[in-house]
Amino acid sequence: MVAVNTRRAAVVGANRIPFARSNGPYARAANQDMLTATLDGLVARFGLQDERLGEVAAGAVLKHSRDFNLTRESVLGSRLSPQTPAYDVQQACGTGLETVILTANKIALGQLDSAVAAGVDTTSDAPMAVNEKLRAVLLETNRAKTVGARLKALSGIRPTQLMPSIPANSEPRTGMSMGEHQAITTLEWGITREAQDELAAASHRNLAAAYDRGFMDDLITPFLGLSRDQNLRPDSTVEKLAALPPAFGKAFGENATMTAGNSTPLTDGASAVLLASEEWAAAHKLPVLAYFVDAETAAVDYVHGNRKEDGLLMAPVYAVPRLLARNKLNLDDFDFVEIHEAFAGTVLTTIKAWEDAEFCRRRLDLDGPLGSVDRKKLNVNGSSLAAGHPFAATGGRIVATLAKMLHENGGGRGLISICAAGGQGVVAVLEA
């Protein structure tokens, strides 16, 4: 038996391509193109040509069936050593952070010395499947043994079956889109339109400032002519956002608060994070930005649960207290808090729930409120509302941003909270 000793897993660096709006500059780029370019940008930044890394873990939420080995194929197309193993991971919008957790844990256990955790998504080059009824007919034809039987099976084709099946951003068990789910949660928690628009404006302002001061220079490699996130609107203001009509929860009439401005748009992009043991990083003369500390995943019963307290995107509300308790931390112990801005309402709901003493006692088994998130520590270099949200790539973007912030800060602790489809939430702590 090998004795289990753990060591610290370091975030050494990162790379991503600028995020593009759906059907924009990356409309004809496949997931594999974007992931390969992102890996190659990482290789170029850190001189990893022909390097055999421990492994590359990556994933995409929307994936073609031909991309069954997406990550390995991307590695083979990159300048990494072809002897670098790879595998695909999928946990909806938690994918990117989950790959970091998986590889960091393996590094901590001594199973790996180096790894890349990555994610990619395109809603432009989305997989379309043949109509489910047509698929049944074609499979039946394939199974038929004689020409007659085949013709008989084919005769089941109807014109309506030529309509393809397009992947939708909706929950299979409720048939409702993520936005409609969040609209209920936003309404139930009484999150105002003004608060949501303020959060969105701050996200754009903060990300624009990050670009302007060169913060993004060693986190990004341009792709297909794009060198900044296309969704970023540096001149966004609360006033401009206030003029937008509701996009979700329209049934709530006057109480509909969620717009295209305070919700993330469909986005294409990819991100990658380089993780390593301290020894590997030192041997490659790569400074450590931050260390991975711990992570937790939670899920809520958004199908049958409480309309207010078990909202689709509320799982991080439950994950974070468990993570903090295990690490004997509270919210004040963090220098930076990164809450993925799926919707401004998601972030504000999460914060409000943690401040709600009665909710925290009853649902989180706490003695009182979990605490408040100091707005000065929240998403200080912008988040998904400004950058966009290519589902599986968001985790890598946030880990990279937070690790660099901690490094620049000369130390500290950061919390990451990411909500995901299926009522899941992935959260983690980094330290420097």
Binding site: V43, A44, R45, Q49, D217, D218, K285
Partner: protein
Amino acid sequence: MSDRYLNLVNSPVGSAVASRIGLPQPAKLRRYSVGDPLLPGPALVGSTQGKPTAALDTLLTDAGVEVLDALAHGEPAALVLDARSLAQPSDLAAVREFLGPGVRALGASGRVVVVAQPPDGSSVAVDTTRQAVEGIVRSLAKELRRGSTANLLWVEDEASLPAALRFFLSGKSAYVDGQPLRLGPGMAPDPADWDRPLAGKTALVTGAARGIGAAIAGVLARDGAKVIAADLTVAGETLAKVANRLGGTALHLDVAAADAPQRLLDHLAAHTDGLDILIHNAGITRDKLMANMEPHQWDSVLAVNLEAQLRINEALLGSDQLNAQARVACLSSTTGLSGNRGQTNYAASKAGVIGLVRSSAPAFAAHGRSTINAIAPGFIDTDMTAKMPLATREVARRLSSLQQAGLPIDVAEATAWLASPGAGGVNGQVLRVCGQSLVGA
């Protein structure tokens, strides 16, 4: 972009036509490929003092050159004349006696290298005679055909002579023609492996995403250096490809940004064991006639092409991130020597760079015997010159002794030589890579 005219006149029919009607006949230049011998044939070695010195013979033999001391059958690939004994004008006849028959026999892409002593103020007659050699070499370079070149080495100190001879005889100097270069005192150790003279060195090239910068990064890597390829973030996509092709790293850096020197120092401290080679290549053009020049066009060219070099050099010299025997090469331009219509801002920056290297040479010499030199490319085929109107480009291409444009690799080879340990005696100099361009001579 390919030189169609050059290809045409090197075809049988094109060659015959061009020759009959007196059109320029540019030759295909001998350029270096890894593994090439220094010369494709023997070198005829002579001296203005009877027999060539044994030291020079040995130096060439060590470099793998077959040395002839008299013309034999066949074409010598090079003529090397040791003219260091010249003392009075009548001695110059010995130069003619050696070079006259020599150039008649010289093979295609031949090399004429004259090794002389620089004027030093000790005697009027001696200085007069020594200076006369420059006129001979510059004129001979204009007479040579078939891609041959003639260059002059002013040898004040022999330390850099081995590496200099290798450079000027090899295909690496294909587009350096009619140039005098001064070899002074300095640390110029022979590399362990002449094919990888930069092994173990860390080099940084600014503006490395494209053109001349990408070529320089490639040659430095070929010669063994660990290359940091730097360019603007917006050029990052091609920069990453360059870095991955040569096995280096990509650094997003706007050299004109206020915090660029500090960012550079931070990067070097975190990722390297100090910098050995710095190539200031990043440059922009914003051409306008002086009468129409806008302030931002003036300021941005000077900021990127000149002020950034000054500030980065100052920061490096004041830090512990520049290693001893460092090599700095700054990209100037023949425009900085000759001037060019519509380029007062660009010429200011490129002439300024020459002032910069001359003036800062002592400070670099004092920094562990480091050096700083300028490279002045002439007309080089790049993406930038490809945008010129066809006729202008064609005329510009023929306006040199070699009657063709240079390639980015030509500038890169010269830069890599100046960046090599063996070039330690070259400091504060300007090396033109211009095919002996007729402008700015």
